[in-house]
Amino acid sequence: MTKQEIIERTNVALAEEFEKEPSLFNPQENLREALELDSLALVDLVALLESEFGYKIKGPEIIEVKTFGDLYEFLLKKQSDEGHLAS
């Protein structure tokens, strides 16, 4: 997947799961604030991303993700690291 495809797929999945308008998502935006993620909801985010992209995500990895931009880069790196092209 290209970075743009990852961004679009991520935004659609996040909007549906957390019932937010995807047009509000931008790379500089704080992910947890925009999605209103508390500590309980972070596991939902991990479960969603694992299901959507097929990557195994460890808790400490997602803690480091602060913004939407961080998330897109994180997923791009996962794809690169795992040599994985999720369909």
């Binding site: 500590s39 309980l40 596991v43 985010l45 694992e50 995500i57 997602i62």
Partner: protein, 147 residues
């Protein structure tokens, strides 16, 4: 498969509210528990095992799984709390005499919050399912798991 006393070391509930009598780990990431629903179970009304009983059985199953994992790491068993239950579906109430079986699967884990999926059935008949978030309290130890 764990014995009754071993199961007790994994959960904090005591009689008459212990709702698992069987525990074994078939294959990561799924864990299996069971309960023979006996006459007089406090979650039964007449011979019907209540939805609340099914949820409590699922919660104890999840707690036992977390205790088992802790024991496997040679850690003390920690107390966990239910943070959220969602997508609960009850297809059919178990009845006295049924053997309720539940499969617990870890879906994701972030720090001390764990999301599990619980699926209960009787023989091959689906009974209930839900997702449950568990919060582990690292500051509360319980008795050590023993072999």
């Amino acid at each position: 498969m764990l014995r009754e006393e071993q199961i007790k070391s994994l959960i904090r509930q005591r009689e008459p509210v212990i709702l698992i009598d069987t525990f074994f780990k078939p294959a990561d990431p799924e864990y299996y528990t069971g309960l023979k629903i006996l006459p007089g179970n406090i979650f039964c009304r007449e011979d019907i095992f209540s939805a609340e009983g099914v949820i409590e059985h699922m919660a104890q199953s999840s707690a036992a799984m977390l205790g088992y994992l802790a024991a496997g790491r040679n850690e003390q068993v920690k107390t966990s709390y239910i943070g959220e239950i969602r997508d609960f579906e009850l297809a059919d109430n178990p009845r006295t005499g049924d053997f309720l079986e539940t499969i617990i699967e870890i879906l994701s884990e972030v720090m001390d919050i764990i999301l599990v999926k619980a699926r209960s059935h009787i023989a091959s008949r689906p009974v209930a399912s839900c997702k449950m978030k568990l919060a582990i309290n690292r500051n509360v130890d319980r008795q050590l798991f023993y072999n």
